[in-house]
Amino acid sequence: MTFAFEIPLLVLLILTAASAMLVKDLVSSVFILGSYSFFLALVWAWLGAVDVAFVEAVVGAGLATVLFLLTLFGTNPKDTRLRRPPTPWAAIVGLPLLGLLLMYGANGLPEFGDPASPASTHVSPVYLANSLKDTLTPNVVTSVLMDYRSFDTLIETAVIFTAGVACALLLRRDQG
């Protein structure tokens, strides 16, 4: 009963990912990937992660789709239609083995929504209890992002600046 809302969303997520993988036309594949991002944002909103859902809907579904389309229209590839390549045997053997290993490891993880799981017992109650006192911000995600871990966010902007410089250098028109 707990998963009555989530299971259809997860099925839609896997279906959109599979069709983005199988569709041969790259433009349709990119648009299906955008809908995949929206379903992911819905799942995250259901899990209570509204800030992450907003960021995924804006940055993942919006900006990433625009970047993909700009690349597709900029390259104007004649080989938009894919041909079917032969699958290497290492992928046929290795990927199911990796999947089995991950599923075996899933057995030892805490159950879904367990309030006594290790992730929810060490530091996160401290942030929840003291955030309003320390920062006067009711949104705990904002106060952790901008106050407790503001150096993390500062270095993240440095990462984005580096990525922008790298894109500008790669896309220069007059390179010899």
Partner: protein, 125 residues
């Protein structure tokens, strides 16, 4: 074996994560078109972020925005905010790496006139 399947049914998020992760990895390994490989990379990255966010959920808890007038905050009432913060950073970095890889792809197209891995390899020789 039966209890293993029961354990998976209690954790549908992990099962969905494993399927998405493997399909993204499969695209990256097997497809020969560079843009298709970047699509696989995107699916792989979002599946890992989804795995991390799924740990933040608590039963009977709401979004981590404090209700007014609760002076000693009831910690069990709100989901764990820490995975949200860390994955917010990860999503933005993910799109930055996506932009750089797409810029690389279009630079490769401008230099070699193809998006196919084998064609580019042939023209390199």
């Amino acid at each position: 074996m039966l209890e293993l399947v029961g354990a998976w049914l209690l954790r549908p998020n992990v099962v969905a994560f494993v399927i998405l992760f493997l399909s993204g990895f499969y695209i990256m390994v097997t497809h020969h078109n560079l843009i298709k490989k970047v699509i696989g990379l995107y699916i792989l990255q979002t599946s890992v972020i989804f795995f991390l966010v799924a740990f933040s959920a608590k039963t009977g808890a709401t979004v981590p925005i404090l209700l007014p007038g609760a002076d000693p905050v009831d910690v069990g009432l709100y989901t764990n905010p820490l995975p949200h913060v860390l994955t917010l950073t990860a999503i933005v970095v993910q799109v930055a790496t996506l932009g750089v890889s797409l810029a690389l792809v279009s630079a490769i197209y401008r230099q070699y006139g193809s998006l196919d891995e084998d064609e580019v390899g042939k023209r390199l020789e």
